[in-house]
Symmetry: D3
Subunit: 301 residues, 6 copies
């Protein structure tokens, strides 16, 4: 088959791909003048947020107490600018995809600015919350030499940091963007925390690959979770038409000081009581009393 | 130890590393004029394919119905050019590594062009198949707000998309390249689908980290799989010399409408019947009857 | 809220974030003139090391026997330069974070050069060790077509390669950097091998997502491990103050020729005897005799 | 002087540099939400324009008649988007710097879109005009082998192309941007053509370094100019306050078919008649009759 | 005018631009599989050539006598690969544009490889020739502190270096590429030396902006030229049809040890005798005797 | 000639190029641990300096009075870090090339830090000096619409800005680096100002291509120079051995308020008196009285 034929195949394929019914429901026609949600920009947003929250660990600058405010200032202003644009992107995206009443870009722009500035105001509190996570991870891992190692290297902390950012944005009713931020941590660390989950202070995830924390999960303070743990839904109530009902609480409630070992699966809106310990590789679908220890049966030999 | 000694250590180490028997079997001497398989180029290929299949979601362009064919045209032509080169790279790579009869680059070039144009022709059908996966993922996840969210954020769909591309290339007898495309999705999502597996329509993988689907697996329509599920081989028949025999069916057959919950392990050439439900954290090595539900024993307390 | 107010919120937030007690323990003030540990540079270090160890597979050069020494020479010299700088970065980082006696940058620079040149000298042996891993992976996977495919595509080999590099650096008393190299492989492959673990020749990890190998693990020769396997600690002895004691052997010892199937969890300083086979999804906390096979109980129906 | 002192010098210098009267008249406070004029984006605009005007010479695509419209389509749409944004940037920039009545960004955005689409409509005519310049350069230079060489290599054509783009934008009352486009060609080629100059068809500049063509110059058809030629102003009439009056015609009028050799300087609102030839290194401040030849006096020996 | 109209204008403009007679003579339809001449690649070629010719001045490597051959080896091999491809690009480009008999890409590929390897063989001689230029520039400029400053900073040497590379390629009958290399130096330095000019040893250009050296110029040894000097053609003999005859000697012959001061213009196939000195700003169109000094008349006051 | 032969030619050529006497005087062996002078880094230094001196014109940040000090702070600190490294590079470079007594890197590092901090302290004064140049350019050019246009677009100001930076570094006895900074402006604008020249306030260069200002030139306040003007040396006094004596005053002194029109050449240590006007294309080698006007003779017709 010669070059000419290839050209013909290409033009005919393009024609098919350009037919409206071919891309129905799979195409996104964006509003003129509205920014697109961008993985690249959101990645920069996370990098800048880390540089603000943990000064001197990320970015290329030498930080000292005399000049730290310059760096925090530039980073905070830049974070505001990028975040406001991505929030706007999220609002437009959802408006185009999901909503019936079309709002003007200008109206959404004002809303995006307000949400972004609210997030900026939250940064000092966010740093304070994350400091409890860093301290907990250091306390829980005998292999850790310093808090610096936790901050710089530990995937668990990175996933928790993304989650806390995404969760705050969700609380501010920012659509779409929180989910992308969660998935970025998921891809980087193998830890999948839904931004809608509620998680207390001093939260530790060790190793973490394969961890899944569902949207309606509630986790207390000082909880430790190991790799492969699932906090999932058992089944989905259906509506009269047989479709899954969205938004019903369907994931576990985990009390304070709970430890869940690797690859355990906790399913349904059950409660794991305070101070309970769940052994590895378990399948738990019923409440666990406070302080109890649950383990796998011995293997057959 | 001074700078001079360092220089000496370096030159002596280089001498050792350059000895033929040191790199025997670990070195690849490529054909002059033949392209190298390139992770970077394959990554661009996947990006362009996504931009063609889901117009307006990826890339930086605003798509509208008046100009959509320009973008699809440029992307399709570019996809052809890059893909043909990588197929050629795969053919040369395997020819050098694995085959006894050496073929000319020109002969392989013609073959690569044919295979690439065959893939291009498949694009409209590929889009149509993927539309069933998008719809299934939206139906199965109560946390999803729209198809757009599935397309833009869900790692399961990304892994399935890479798989369907890699599988088609494998059907076209393209060597080496399909495996790299699978591993790219594996690294990005933690989902490891062998390109030789056969998978029906409306396939959903939720969360997905740790999923493994082996080379001879066969999966029906409308199947849902959760994180950590393995469709693996139980053991490998050995030939008379005690070496594993390659190419024998050794992975499960999964029927239509089957659901497999997180961290379940299904091993060997067994059959999971239509409409069966497999509970989480299970180890399944025998056939499961259609419509049955299999669960883990209760944990000891 | 107008632009003016946003500016005010930003400046006030920056003021709060710049207060010393806000970033206490979360900030890293680096030594002037000392390099920072850099994920980007370490990523380049790994790429160059791969290009040296497996010539012709990575990098863009066509390798032939006449000119191979040029490429190995330039890469080895570059590896030395980058590695020495990152070792220095690690020494400074730890010196600042964890140590009481402050050493001069010049003193640490000399130490870093020595450690880097020691690593360079190790390269031929490293290549020889890795050749046993490549051969084992090829032997163990019926789906593999050639050693080339293992080298180019297999995440297991990538993780093992990073581990062997990180382990050598740890043996040379390089702080901090080995951990980052491990986490890079963890993020890329989902395989988390602590650099302090001791692992024999001919080691295979197949698929690999979710594998965790703890810091005091000891693994014999010719061991094969599948996805989701954990070699972990059961519990942490506490000191008189109730803090976990660091540095105690707490992970398993795995004998020669052992196979551990997917998602098995082996916990504590137990011994899995030579030639044992551990079934998938198991929770093993006691010694396993040499040559024995351990399996999961049958599921309830 | 120690590190501490350096830090002090830096903070004190920053304080001085941040004082309002220090940056009075040297600082540009941009409108929130308005884009900045960007050399980088304008550079991309010129590249895309060249790719549209001379298909197949610039950009990386193989052009053929079957697919040329895809490439022209994507490039034209992209040119519109980038150009509209830069026109808006120019409008905002000037509005902030030079104008008393402040206009809304939205109003300027609409204006920018109109101007950009007017420019797009002009592209076919622009290509037609440039084709006369290409043909003239080929005819005039005995060293040229083909029109392709002119298009691909000749700095004269690049400068003329930038000029014709900038001139059209100026006719559309786009502020600021045309000047930047001129200066880009100036920096690349050493040829400085003011965008306000009026230049006929079939214009050739050979070699070109040092050519200056002033803002009120008028140049006929089929004119050839060599390196170092200045079409400049002799003096600037002053107003009653002794300031130069802006906007008065002060540069030469050059007739059809004129040739001006290297380093000649033509000053003031004089007329060089049709078919005249001006010798090199001359200083001309008075009218030159049609068809005449002007030369330098013989050197003294 | 709304968004819809803009879309319409774009599609209509694209239609006009895609009409064949619109781009007649301005479009380049490239051969499938043939590389395109690339300014970017040629720029890399020049950088590598400089790194080979002047080791340690360019590139990021620390050079020492122990490892210099690694760097020269890698650079030389890379130079060969890139150069052969660009020579092929040049051959294809000209074949498509200018020649009637169409040659196969394979045939041209072999020719390109031969020419590239011939150039590689010339490198030691090229370095030796350039060493005379470096020495001359150092001798002639009282402001130069060292040869290193000449090599690293002087635009004159950069232009001469590009010229000597381009000239050798022209001698090897490489089409098109030499001209682009010349224009790259022209853009970088403002010095425009036609690659066909013949230039002796120990050539110095000081400052250099505006220098033009025509295609048939012949320059002896030890010549010094200042900024703005033109060695040009006086007029172009016409053939019977009134078209300029290409390829006739029309530029000056400059003897040994000649100095030409700034902005002098030497026109036509005249001879400037050995040891002559030409003053600045002169217009010279007749032979100058050996050893004579020519100057401008005194200015009128 | 086959591939094998090419390989042989390459290895033989590399052997020749690696012979010591081949690269004698053309090779730079750098000190281990010392940075290399880098065009790329110096280019970033100039960009940052411009962003500090003219806030809001360069860089991507929106500047407002509330946050301007953050940006100035980060930029000033970054400028210090980059500049100190490049000053050190310059000191090492010259030490290796030109000096007999070898100094330690540490000693030079301290010196580099002092010089860099001295430059930082000079920034407010530098801004103040440049503000006179901006005002003068605006006053002198009837085509300029605003100071903003001068700052953003005018090559003359860019060259002057680079000169004033380079000149200050030269006053601080920084070797090598000032010359590179000058050549960067030379390449960008065609204006070649030696960093050792002394230039007063309110200096204007219009168009500028081809301007050369020699090392010992002295220029008063409020001087205007047009394109192609040379302030050069007439001849170079030789020492007893016939070598040019370096460091003797050999370029012109230009008084206050002088105007020099395009392509004029002023040679030797002569004085152009205050308020003089020099016509274009002139060759001036003798003093010009204050207030006088010098012009070219009329052309012959």
């Amino acid at each position: 088959m010669g070059l000419y034929d290839n050209s013909r195949v290409i033009t005919e394929t393009v024609k098919k791909l350009s037919e409206k019914n071919s891309y129905q429901g799979l195409c996104h026609q964006h509003r003129d003048g509205a920014p697109l949600p961008s993985g690249e920009v959101l990645s920069e947003i996370i990098s800048i947020a880390r540089a603000i929250l943990f000064p001197g660990f990320f970015g290329k600058s030498i930080i000292n107490t005399g000049t730290i405010s310059y760096h925090l200032g530039v980073n905070t202003e830049r974070l505001y600018e990028l975040l406001y644009e991505q929030i706007l992107a999220g609002l437009c995206f959802v408006c185009d995809c999901e909503e019936s009443n079309v709002r003007s870009v200008e109206e959404m722009r004002r809303e995006a600015m307000e949400k972004a500035i609210d997030f900026i105001e939250y940064l000092p509190e966010l740093r304070s919350v994350l400091s409890t996570d860093v301290a907990a991870a250091f306390y829980n891992d005998p292999a850790a030499h310093s808090q610096a190692e936790i901050i710089f290297c530990y995937p668990g902390l990175r996933a928790i940091c993304n989650y806390r950012i995404a969760h705050k944005l969700l609380e501010l009713d920012v659509p779409f963007i929180p989910r992308i931020i969660s998935e970025m941590a998921h891809s980087e660390t193998g830890i999948d925390i839904h931004p809608a989950a509620k998680i207390g202070l001093s939260f530790t995830i060790d190793h973490g690959t394969g961890v899944v924390i569902g949207a309606t999960s509630i986790i207390g303070n000082n909880v430790t979770i190991y790799q492969g743990v699932t906090l999932g839904a058992k089944n989905f109530p259906l509506d009269d038409d047989g479709n899954p009902i969205k938004g019903i609480p369907r994931h576990p409630i985990i009390g304070d000081n709970v430890i869940i070992y690797s690859n355990a699966t906790i399913l349904g809106r059950i409660t794991i009581g305070d101070n309970a310990v769940i052994g590895g590789n378990l399948w738990v679908t019923q409440d666990v009393a406070p302080g109890s220890r649950v383990q796998q049966p011995r293997p057959q030999k």
